[in-house]
């Protein structure tokens, strides 16, 4: 059980680290949103799964309810994260920010 929990947490940590590194490395606003919007969703899925499994260490109905609530957090993250990413991109487009492309760079 502990091995499963640790594996979930470590995988989640790898995804979150990738998200942070991606935000630093990628060239512009739009491309930075790719790791920010995506790696966070799977990272938080893994983290929350780890916590939910850890919470069921001593099985009671109360602990099961708490774990279900944690899963519910993941569901809401999966609903809201793409919407939030979309609205941030949209704000960038409306502010008139040009996306970085390779063709512009060659010229």
């Amino acid at each position: 059980m502990d091995i499963v929990v640790t594996a979930f947490l470590v995988i989640g940590l790898v995804f979150f680290t990738g998200g942070g590194v991606g935000i630093l490395r990628l060239p512009d606003f739009y491309t930075r949103l790719h790791p920010a919007g995506k790696l966070d969703t799977l990272g938080s899925l893994m983290m929350m799964m780890g916590i939910a499994v850890f919470n069921l260490h001593h099985f009671t109905w109360g602990a099961l309810l708490t774990s279900l609530k944690i899963i519910l957090i993941v569901v809401f993250i999966f609903l809201s994260s793409p919407t939030a990413t979309h609205s941030i991109v949209d704000a960038g487009v409306r502010a008139g920010l040009e996306p970085w492309t390779k063709k512009e760079r060659r010229e």
Binding site: G18, Y30, T41
Partner: protein, 192 residues
């Protein structure tokens, strides 16, 4: 829904993520079954969140769920067609594991890009546009959110007519659109 699809192309991005259903266009039908399902969903959510099984809390939940169902019962199932409702939900449930698999693929792809030493040569961001065949607003929203969740693409803008503007991070993920996902969403919402 015909009035919806023929609406003029207006750039109103704030409307795109939260579809508004004007009450005039709602088809009239017997909404009892839809109300019952809405009530059951709300009540199971109440039990899950309260976690108390004594009479006081359960009756409080029943009362408030009934009030919410009467006020906004037609939000979840705006078409209120009871026929084939369960089947369409089963189709939608079958879409979710595939979406999860795609999300994991997307994350691994982005993770590979981010940690690659020559990342700048691999990425080639561009904005692509295409026309979707989907009609219903709910399936358009689901499709837009699915695009954002899956490999290297973010939905920039989507109109009610199905015009998609998608920002993709490299050539490989741009080629995948609209492709398989659109037909999957169409099947999940019973448009084919």
């Amino acid at each position: 829904m015909d009035t919806q699809t023929q609406r003029k192309y207006v750039y109103e991005p704030s409307k795109t993520t939260e579809p508004d259903f004007p009450s005039a266009s709602r088809p009239k039908g017997s909404p009892f079954f839809a109300h019952l399902i809405t009530f059951l969903i709300l009540f199971s959510l109440w039990i899950l969140l309260s976690g108390k099984f004594d009479l006081f809390h359960l009756s409080l939940g029943i009362i408030s769920c009934i009030i919410i169902t009467l006020i906004s019962g037609d939000l979840l199932f705006p078409e209120s067609k009871t026929k084939g409702l369960i089947r369409s939900w089963l189709c939608f449930l079958r879409y979710i594991p595939w979406l999860l698999y795609q999300i994991i693929l997307a994350n691994l792809h982005i993770l590979y890009l981010v940690f690659h030493p020559r990342m700048m040569e691999l990425i080639d961001p561009e904005i692509i546009t295409f026309q979707s065949k989907l009609k219903k607003e709910l399936s358009l929203v689901t499709f837009a959110n699915s695009i954002t969740l899956t490999p290297g693409t973010i939905t920039v803008y989507v109109s009610v007519n199905g015009d998609f503007h998608v920002h993709s991070i490299d050539k490989k993920s741009a080629e995948l659109l609209p492709g398989e996902m659109e037909s999957k969403v169409a099947r999940a919402f019973g448009e084919q």
